[in-house]
């Protein structure tokens, strides 16, 4: 008997179920790339058989953080940069939940960068979508960790002196077992990548290029884009770490020159997820911890039984 009967429920799922009655229309600017993420998620979730109440969407702060206002699942809109620690603990507490974390490039690669590195390192079984628009949008256009060198903004009026962060390479080196880049303007690829990420057993990181038509006109719409899997110009093995690293580096280099490369970059199906590793060393129970609190027959250990060592 489970206390969480939304989980694993087998039934027909309509994508409209993911549109909340409260806020069916997002407040994002017309032409915003964030619509692309929302749409791709609404399509992907029913296709992988997930119902709204078995999904926990954990977001950070920024335009991207409002994702779960417009996606009707269980949601936790946390604080700036902290979606990942909240998300991974929820997954440890109840591993049966489908956990999706999301945030922007400032949120995930800037203020939350430490959490991103360690969540990837530990390979938690979750999907992490970074809405990468190379700008701080909601605070009105400041330079972000992925803004191109020379990018002018209110806070770097003479142009940024910093080279942008390399999200794909960083994630690979940190330990993510699935790394992809997609773009809002490529909805079919986005949907397929999200489905793969959800079904992947480990930390799946999607760097999702989401154009900001208001504050980052330089990036245009990320068109034309090239799917590295479909193009004849690129040939590499996504399961080969060395080849993946090279392809990622090239992809990051050419983005600011106007060439938008997207696709799957690294897939490691063999690396055990964090909860598998933790169970293997005996530091995590086999059954979901959250279930235990509803089990009337559960026997709870007492400190009284530990006192022998103190007498």
């Amino acid at each position: 008997m489970s206390a969480f009967n939304a989980i694993g429920e087998q039934r027909e799922i309509d994508r409209d179920e993911f549109t909340p009655g409260v806020e069916p229309q997002p407040t994002w600017c017309p032409g915003c790339g964030d619509f692309g993420v929302l749409k791709a998620l609404k399509q992907a979730l029913p296709e992988v058989g997930k119902t709204p109440e078995e999904v926990l969407t954990v977001t950070g702060i920024g335009c991207s953080g409002k994702l779960n206002s417009y996606l009707d699942t269980y949601g936790f809109h946390t604080i700036h940069g902290r979606s990942l620690p909240v998300a991974r603990a929820a997954k440890l507490a109840n591993p049966e939940l489908e956990v999706i974390a999301a945030g922007g490039d400032g949120d995930g690669y800037g203020i939350g960068g430490n959490h991103w590195i360690h969540t990837a390192r530990e390979n938690h079984d979750m999907t992490y979508i970074v809405f990468n628009n190379e700008i701080f949008g909601l605070t009105k256009g400041q330079t972000s960790p992925t803004s191109p060198k020379g990018h002018k903004s209110k806070t770097q009026p003479s142009g940024s002196a910093k080279t942008p962060l390399r999200p794909l390479s960083m994630s690979l080196n940190a330990g993510a077992s699935y790394v992809a880049r997609t773009a809002a303007v490529n909805p079919n690829q986005a949907k397929e990548i999200i489905k793969e990420a959800i079904e992947h057993d480990g930390f799946a990181h999607i760097d999702f290029l989401t154009q900001c038509p208001t504050w980052n006109k330089d990036a245009r719409q990320y068109v034309p884009y090239i799917d590295v899997q479909e193009s004849d110009d690129y040939d590499f093995d996504v399961t080969d770490r060395r080849e993946a690293a090279e392809m990622m580096r090239e992809t990051e280099d050419v983005l600011n020159e106007g060439t938008v490369l997207t696709g799957r970059y690294y897939v490691d199906e063999d690396r055990p997820s964090y909860s598998q590793e933790k169970k293997a060393v005996g530091e995590m129970p086999d059954d979901p911890l959250a279930e235990r609190y509803f089990d009337d027959d559960a026997e709870w250990e007492r400190s009284y039984d530990l006192l022998e060592r103190h007498t």
């Binding site: 998300a87 929820a90 250990e301």
Partner: protein, 633 residues
Amino acid sequence: MSDDELIWRIAGGSGDGIDSTSQNFAKALMRSGLNVFTHRHYPSRIRGGHTYVEIRAAEHEVQSRGDGYNFLLALGDSFARNPQEEAYYGNEEIKPLSENLDDLREGGVIVYDEGLLDEEEVAELELEKRAEENGWHVYPVDLRGLAKEHGREVMRNTAGVGITAALLEMDLEHIEDLMEDAMSGDVLEANLEILDEANEMVGEEIEREHDLRIPTGEHETEQALLSGSNAIAYGAIDAGCRFIAGYPMTPWTDVFTILSQNFPDMGGVSEQVEDEIAAAALAVGASHAGVKAMSGSSGGGFALMSEPLGLAEMTETPLVLVESMRAGPSTGMPTKPEQADLEFVLYTSQGDSQRVVFAPGNIEEAYEQTRLAFEIAWDYQIPAIIIYDQKLSGENANVDVEFFDREPTPDLGSTLTEEELREAAHDNSGKFKRFNYEDAEDGVAPRSLPGQKGGRYLATGNEHSPVGHIEEDPDNRTFQMDRRLEKLESIREELDERESTQTYFGDEDAEYGIVTWGSSQGAVEEAVARLNEQGHSVKGLSVSDMLPFPETEVTEFLESVDEAMVVEMNATAQFRGHIQRELGRFGDKLTSLLKYNGNPFEPAEVVEGYEINLADEEREPSAQVRIEPAAGD
């Protein structure tokens, strides 16, 4: 100060095994029927440096480290820097002897390791002269030689314990039993030989010249020796907590370690993470998903928890944090106690944030208030913080084993089951009104958990509507704020109806009051008892509920006395300020006795503070304490 007690100080360097030796010796004293209380003084380094542990043992109740001490076992610091050179920090090797002489009581006993300590260095201390002046009895013994003869040099601890036992005419039975539990094979054999031989030296090579003997006592029930950190961890276990996330920091690490070691056998999960922001955020995430979870740190790490704490308050996610204070500001003195994070813990986090804060005064209270913190946090969906310090964290005392014989309480408080969710209020689109202010009782709106059927909602740190969506409507804002604030009032009402968590002591009709909080409680309680014995009209109150503040109780206490002195281990009288802010009065009645030199209060210092205050004397206290006069309202 009484002669019917032993206060044994074992001094050496970090890494000399002072901790384990003293732990076993304390346990042996407890098993022999005595009440024990330990005090730990150590530097922030892995090897070397002056460190000691004091064990106070008596037939009567012991609630503090006591005043001074009467038996020194100076092992010498075997990990000292440049032991043969005169560096700018002096010869560290001899510090376990030289640094400890000031606190030794008249007539006290000194045993030092003449096998390690240089004869000339000892001569420079003018030990003989000082011994004569103070009536000390000095026994130089070659502990190192004795240890090396039968085993390894590090076993000079055991030699020291053997000499101690013989000099005090203490039976070796319990010490031997404990050694047999902890060791085996050659190591055990060598240690037992060293113990015996050291013991036999007294009477043969060493002639006993002093009067101090081991006190005798008897416990009516079985006793357990444990620390405040043990008690907090055990309280959490019995409250059904099975998730902890943390990052190492002294002294909080003790609680984190104890739970990390026990959770695997209890189906629990412990996570050591990248920083304290993550640690508290993980506890929030686990709690959100339905597990009783906690985190904690010391001041510097707690600073990083400020934002997840605020998130827990706004999203009404139950959470327990512990804050183990050490001397600040900034890195301060990492291994020294202080009670200077009170205001920080009360007020950290932006906005009109609300939390519950308990400050346990001793080991039993640490256990009970941790359980209470979990109960309140999960019933009222509010963060509850246990604030304690390095002193309570590391000190050990004996507690009746039966004290812990209680039922666990793993229930999730105001959390709904799927069945209950079916009856609960939803909006037209089927979203659960998780933050419903219309049906809230005591300000509490029951919650659902992710994965439950019919319970989906949005949790957000933004102001939100009943189903959790971001909402800035003025009416909704006011309703939600008022509902959240009502919880703290409801908690106060509930606490007032239950058995008080405040501790009262001394003569009930007294005209003079001494008020304290947290780990200073024991020393104040002993001071008040001593003053009462001397015929002074004094009573004491130790407050545990920092928030919500026990307004009625503290008001009644302060109204009943002419004057009161607030005793706390900080320099800015934070608790006195808290009382005045909460009650808005009594500014003329309250003076302060403050100590912030890195050492906890001794009862005699409190007694002296009272005497100076009462007599309105101009003189300075003899110890490193400060009297802060009343400032008015």
